[in-house]
């Protein structure tokens, strides 16, 4: 009896607090709908279509241009894999900025999904002795090599395992995605990720309107809000349309390779079969689909 009482009043308090908070922030019905929106994976086709249409209208009103938001599912028979040629990478960081632009990452506060580490050739892959803050006139610097790191798209992702609300999951084509409307922002996934691949919107993200990429995917580069986690999705809005991720396209030395691991004739399969590849932190059994190799 008492138990029921306290629970009832608890629920009442919560809803009261919610309503008043919404009222205080001056939100309307739309925000309320958004607040009540369910986990993306439990939504019906009809609900998804409606949400996406509303999103496109909202963006148009706000930014004054046409947006296309897709929710294209994984194509059957695809499992995306990535390979990066350590012997070619020169550490120019063009991939970092191409990624920022393609995926509408916040400029201030700054979010980068790719981090390039400079390592000493003598030490090999050694994280504690590496630096992300290198800033010479010209790269590559003598005696150093470069290891760009982004989401390793693990087959056994620790981030998915720990998420308390199933806001992040692995799609059938192997891409781990986040429902930005469902993420509560607890950052447990960031504590669990051994690659520092997950990034949090500590403040309200800022993207200049003229630089907005209007080709979006709901689980990828659509605009995020403060308080949610985001990460590399192999440019899901591009890769599911048969295009290369932005970082692959921009790389001036061709160090980045991308393709379908299930296709025996793909370039990525050729690399896996003919080059010596390595994965980062193999001992953790995360089983990345992001391979590093030495092409020359």
């Amino acid at each position: 009896m008492k138990n029921e009482n306290s629970r009832r009043s608890f629920i009442k308090n919560i809803s009261l607090a919610t309503f008043s908070a919404l009222a205080l922030s001056g939100c309307d019905m739309e925000a309320f709908d958004e607040f009540l929106q369910q986990n993306f994976r439990t939504l019906s086709k009809k609900e998804k279509d409606k949400i996406i249409k509303n999103l496109e209208i909202k963006y148009k009103e706000k930014y004054g241009k046409e947006f296309h938001v897709s929710d294209k599912p994984a194509i059957e028979g695809t499992l995306f894999g990535y390979a990066l040629d350590l012997s070619r990478c020169i550490g120019c960081r063009r991939c970092v900025y191409a990624c920022v632009k393609e995926n509408n990452q916040s400029r201030d506060p700054q979010i980068h999904w790719i981090e390039v580490l400079q390592m000493e050739k003598e030490k090999g892959i050694d994280f504690p002795h590496s630096t992300a803050q290198y800033n010479p006139e010209k790269v590559p610097e003598k005696g150093y090599f470069y290891v760009p790191i982004q989401c390793q798209q693990c087959k056994n992702p620790p981030c998915v395992k720990v998420c308390p609300v199933k806001a992040t999951w692995q799609e059938p084509d192997g891409i781990t995605v986040i429902d930005y409307n469902w993420c509560i922002g607890c950052r447990y996934c960031m504590a669990a990720c051994p690659y520092g691949a997950r990034h949090f919107n500590w403040g309200e993200p800022n993207v200049p309107i003229e630089e907005l990429n209007s080709e979006m995917h709901y689980l990828g580069n659509r605009l995020r809000k403060k308080g949610v986690v985001e990460k590399c999705t192999f440019c899901i809005q591009r890769s599911r349309e048969g295009k290369y991720p932005a970082c692959v396209e921009i790389c001036p030395v061709g160090a980045r390779k991308f393709g379908n691991l299930l296709d025996p004739d793909s370039e990525i399969r050729y690399i896996l079969e003919n080059k010596r590849v390595l994965i980062l932190k193999q001992e953790l059994n995360t089983q990345p689909k992001f391979y590093y190799f030495f092409g020359i």
């Binding site: 607040f35 981090e115 308390p164 993420c183 509560i184 607890c186 447990y188 500590w202 308080g227």
Partner: protein
């Protein structure tokens, strides 16, 4: 109806107090306001107002959360010795221990709420309404056990007070199983919280099987320290009777806990430093700093020094049985565990980060003010609950005093 009158009686008591009592309330309210304005900045601008960043993505809030889980757990675990050694006021110890646990768990949950980026989406964790990732996520386990523990303590403490208030004999076959069940639950909440950090192989600093045992040992140091002081205050100001021997016994049990904690920590340090792998970096950052980054070194050493001093004060019978040195020791061990959980447990796990980069984190003013707000709310709640409990348990405050004219009711 009866329950409403019980609540009304409780509320009446809250507003009835001495000048000191009101001064204390006003002080707490001022602290809540001061902290609340700090927190409102975070609500408006986001967690960017804290010093946490992608490298160190958990900080002071989560540390405080962990500390309070320990307090909540230990408060109830005191029931075991009270039962075994047959201390006279076992019912009172249960009531105050459980009230302390209730307040601690509420503070724990508050620290989680201020830490998450979207507090309004908290309902995503509720069963049926949301999609709780149970049993895969340790956080879902923690959320579950904490809530069960909160309810359990709330029910037992309220029921006992309710019975005394209505001058009824309480139903032993209802209370005893719940009290006994709350003891393993106390162990469960702290173990689950340790497991939350423990099994993240990417965070080597936490990836030690000794983490959960160390958690429990340290909780057994800090939790009883509060009750030790509380019992003395109660003994001075109310009719609460607890023998010196019982208090010394608590102190003695704390010495064992401290010794075990010390032993576990030394075992951990030996393994790390003698094997001398790369994983030593995190302990180095904690104890000596890396390069010029020595920001948290003073915290870790102050915690060590306070802890060791308390251990010595509690170990020597003469200082353990002297109430001045005993209380100094209690405050020291409480502070030591607080710094250990608040700073030394969380930050080194993230520094250097998983890619070996160092971002120096210390709590921002917003984080400190938010923590002050939550602690003040917790203290306020505990003050109110203890005030009601004291009136009902010791001052014969009952249904008759609520309704003096209508004595037959």
């Amino acid at each position: 109806m009866n329950f409403i009158r019980f609540i009304a009686g409780g509320i009446k008591i809250i507003f009835n107090g001495s000048k000191t009592y009101y001064t204390w309330l006003i002080l707490l309210l001022l602290l809540i306001l001061w902290g609340g304005f700090g927190y409102s900045g975070q609500l408006a601008h986001g967690l960017i107002k804290t010093h946490m960043r992608d490298s160190v993505s958990w900080g002071f809030y989560i540390g405080n959360f962990t500390f309070l889980v320990g307090v909540a757990a230990a408060a109830v675990m005191l029931v075991i010795p009270a039962y075994i050694y047959d201390w006279k006021p076992i019912k009172e110890i249960v009531i105050f221990g459980e009230l302390l646990a209730v307040c601690s768990v509420i503070m724990c949950l508050s620290f989680i709420i201020v830490d998450i980026g979207n507090p309004l989406r908290f309902w995503h964790m509720l069963p049926l309404l949301g999609t709780l990732n149970f049993p895969s996520s340790m956080l879902s386990w923690d959320f579950f056990v904490l809530n069960v523990y909160l309810l359990l303590n709330l029910i037992v403490a309220t029921y006992l007070l309710y019975c005394i208030f209505y001058k009824k004999e309480y139903n032993k076959s209802f209370v005893l199983p719940l009290v006994l069940f709350s003891v393993p639950m106390a162990v469960a909440i702290h173990t689950t919280t340790a497991f939350l950090y423990n099994a993240l192989p990417g965070r080597v600093f936490w990836n030690s099987a000794l983490l959960a045992p160390r958690f429990l040992a340290s909780a057994f140091c800090s939790g009883p320290a509060i009750l030790l002081i509380l019992f003395q205050i109660l003994r001075k100001t109310t009719k609460f009777e607890i023998k010196d021997e019982a208090i010394w016994k608590i102190a003695e049990l704390m010495v064992y806990a401290m010794f075990i904690y010390l032993f576990f920590t030394i075992a951990e340090l030996f393994k790390e430093f003698y094997s001398g792998t790369e994983n030593i970096l995190y302990w180095k950052y904690l104890l000596f700093g890396i390069g010029d980054h020595k920001e948290i070194v003073p915290y870790s050493w102050s915690s060590i020094i306070m802890g060791c001093t308390a251990f010595i004060l509690f170990l020597i019978p003469k200082t353990r049985k002297n109430f001045l040195t005993l209380n100094i020791g209690a405050v020291l061990i409480y502070a030591s565990v607080y710094v250990e959980k608040g700073i030394a447990l969380i930050i080194p796990a993230f520094t250097p980060d998983v890619l070996g980069q160092i971002y120096v984190y210390t709590p921002s003013m917003t984080e400190i003010r938010t923590a002050v707000m939550i602690f003040s709310i917790g203290f306020l709640l505990f003050t109110f609950l203890s005030k009601i409990a004291i009136a009902i348990v010791f001052d014969n405050y009952n249904i008759d005093s609520l309704n003096p004219k209508n004595k037959s009711k």
